[in-house]
């Protein structure tokens, strides 16, 4: 199991754990924990509704792809720490990370 921390829109933090061997994305884990993530496009990096900020541990995740950057950079608010949760696979690279929800929640 991989452990990391989620910070919601109100600033509340919760430690969550996720299996590393099921090929899940961070977006799917956020939904499983019932965080308000729309994920309109279902994980194709096409809608940016799963926008998150990686407050701690971003370097370990590697670079965002061009497709992901296209979406992120079109957003009204975009940070150097921004990523799309649907493009991050659950794995050791996420262990100990702190993730803040940024996508629209309604």
């Amino acid at each position: 199991m991989i452990n990391f921390t989620i910070e919601d829109h109100q600033g509340n933090r919760q430690e969550v754990e996720a299996p590393a061997d099921m090929g899940l994305s961070l977006m799917e884990i956020l939904k499983a924990y019932e965080y308000p993530v729309l994920a309109t496009c279902g994980g194709m990096a096409l809608c940016a509704t799963c926008h998150v900020e990686i407050l701690e541990g971003k370097d370990r995740l590697g670079e965002a792809t061009n497709v992901e950057l296209d979406q992120l950079e079109a957003l009204p608010e975009y940070f150097p720490t921004s990523r799309l949760a649907c493009q991050i696979r659950i794995g050791d690279i996420l262990d100990g990370a702190v993730i803040k929800l940024r996508g629209e929640d309604n």
């Binding site: 194709m44 096409l46 509704t49 296209d70």
Partner: protein, 334 residues
């Protein structure tokens, strides 16, 4: 006033296929969609992506599926109101409904089907104080009629294709065009970006890079946009219009106020016939929820078939519905 048997809100794949199922039962449909084209998410978000779980199609591109659905429903002559959002619903004395859009188009129907996917795609708004105060008073999120900007001063914000395209177009229409972009480079089509840089180098437009919108000013109507530039200095620009172009995002919209039972942005339905708790209103496709719900196009198709058989009684209260296969009866066009 448009009169029809069934008013379908949402012209995505499920809304379109619902026309076919209605047509088999001789019920006419009118579709409304907030987007200017049919196809919903498929056409708007991923037209060129292949889909692999449509029965009978090992692989089909999203736009191709939409085009095929349009072909399939052609015999039933559906009518469309596109680029308008449903605003109001009013129940008539006989149980039927009148739907009114934001552009005041009215549709009278016996039955309402909500096939709205995740809601209507609305423009993403930048976070700027008092932005809403200036909506319709200088701030607009869409260029519907470019002539509105003739000989006016226009500030566009954004770095995507639509910001670039409209900058180029409006450069020949507006008195002055200023494009504000957060970065130094554009991710849009390289040719288009090159054109924008050319226009700026030739003094035809003002291009302000590495800048962010900060504040709006004006007395009743927008007259100033304040930015922070590269060096974090505030820059004041006199303008008549601000057009923020930051893409679209889905919202449930006014449907949320129709008295339906809503759970996490989805409408609860009875799986016997996908009816909502409100008389003569059904919800199908991604917008509904029930135990075991799967947000799949093929599940939406199934829901459309079941639901139309239930709606028949409202359109033809004096007739008995007899179930027939298309292999027996074919498709009888209107």
């Amino acid at each position: 006033m448009i009169t029809t048997d069934i008013c379908i809100i949402g012209a995505g794949p499920v809304g379109l296929f619902a026309v076919f199922e209605a047509g088999l039962l001789k019920m006419r449909c009118h579709l409304i969609d907030a987007l200017p084209q049919v196809g919903g998410q498929l056409s708007e978000i991923y037209p060129q992506k292949p889909i692999y779980d449509i029965p009978g199609y090992p692989e089909v591109k999203a736009q191709e599926l939409v085009d095929n659905l349009m072909e399939q429903i052609k015999p039933f002559k559906p009518t469309f109101t596109l680029g308008e959002r449903v605003d109001q619903l009013s129940k008539q004395g006989d149980g039927s409904y009148v739907v009114t859009t934001n552009d005041k188009t009215q549709i009278h129907a016996q039955v309402i089907i909500i096939a709205g996917g995740l809601g209507c795609f609305e423009p993403r708004k930048p976070v700027i104080e008092k932005l809403e105060d200036f909506e319709g008073k200088g701030v607009t999120y869409m260029v519907k009629n470019p002539e509105l900007f003739r000989d006016k001063r226009v500030v566009l914000a954004g770095g995507g294709d639509s910001a670039l395209d409209w900058t180029i177009y409006l450069a020949n229409v507006a008195e002055r065009v200023t494009l504000v972009h957060r970065n130094e480079t554009f991710r849009g089509a390289p040719d288009t970006a090159a054109k924008v840089f050319d226009l700026a180098n030739n003094g035809k437009i003002d291009l302000i890079l590495s800048a962010n919108l900060k504040e709006l000013g004006g007395n009743g109507h927008l007259d100033t946009v304040i930015l922070t530039d590269k060096s974090k200095t505030e820059v004041k620009i006199g303008t008549d219009y601000l057009i923020p172009l930051f893409g679209l995002s889905p919202k449930l919209g006014p449907i949320a106020d129709w008295g339906l039972t809503i759970d996490k942005n989805a409408i609860e339905v009875d799986t016997t016939d996908y009816s909502t708790g409100v008389d003569r209103i059904y919800a199908i496709g991604d917008i509904n929820t029930y135990p075991g719900k799967l947000k799949l196009i093929l599940c939406g198709f199934h829901e459309a078939a079941i639901m139309m058989h239930s709606a028949f009684k409202y359109v033809y209260p004096d007739q008995k519905l007899s179930f027939k296969y298309t292999t027996v009866n074919g498709v009888n066009a209107f």
